[in-house]
């Protein structure tokens, strides 16, 4: 008597390291999703975050840094740093500071801060996908 054919098994999802996914997602916008195999979403997220960031730069917005005596600047800096590598490149390599006298300064600051906060959400999303909590 022949043995019954084994039921086909669904392919196991490839194992992804959540820490690597989160780290990549933070360093380069969209890289975490690329690592997780979500190419389309990675590209879209990367474009959205970078367009928001460069709009902020074009409007001469503030790239926040911690100011002594202003505790809220700490949180704003953390939010801005959320964009990852571009923050440090703009601040340390390019010496970007923004222009407080520019008419669009506040708008630009909002765009830059939003880019950082969106990327922080992408870090959490990549972490959830890598841990299997989200598809």
């Amino acid at each position: 008597m022949s043995e019954p054919a084994a039921a086909p098994r669904a392919a196991d999802p490839p194992a992804h390291n959540p820490v690597v996914a989160a780290l990549l997602a933070w360093v380069v916008p969209g890289a975490g999703h690329l690592y997780l195999g979500r190419r389309g979403r990675a590209l879209a997220f990367c474009l959205i975050v970078l367009v928001s960031l460069f709009t902020g730069f074009a409007l001469q917005g503030n790239l926040y840094r911690v100011v002594a005596g202003q505790p809220l600047s700490f949180f704003a800096t953390l939010g801005s740093m959320g964009v990852g590598l571009p923050y440090f490149v703009a601040r340390w390599l390019l010496g970007y500071q923004g222009d407080i006298e520019s008419a669009s300064y506040e708008y630009g600051s909002a765009f830059i801060l939003t880019a950082g906060l969106m990327n922080l959400l992408l870090v959490l999303d990549a972490l959830d996908i890598a841990r299997g909590r989200k598809s």
Binding site: R41, A44, F45, I48, V49, V51, S52, T55, L59, A103, S104, Y107, A110, F111, T114, M118, L121, L122, D125, S135
Partner: protein, 65 residues
């Protein structure tokens, strides 16, 4: 370069709506629906708030130093 407040608001609303519709929804139709809700909510809400500002007295123009 002349900067339009309205266009900046639309640009911001576009980016944020696209981001959250991609992040939160999976199906194309669901994404489009959420995108429209967020986009129209932000732009419409901004215009409504701007219109309400007409009821506040603007006062004399600030003199340049």
């Amino acid at each position: 370069m002349r900067i339009s407040h309205f266009l900046l608001m639309v640009h911001y609303a576009l980016l944020v709506s696209a981001f959250f519709s991609l992040l939160w929804k999976r199906g194309r139709q669901q994404r489009q629906r959420l995108f429209l809700k967020l986009f129209l909510g932000m732009v419409g809400g901004g215009l409504a708030l701007a219109w309400l500002m007409y009821f506040f007295p603007s006062g004399p123009p600030t003199p340049f130093p």
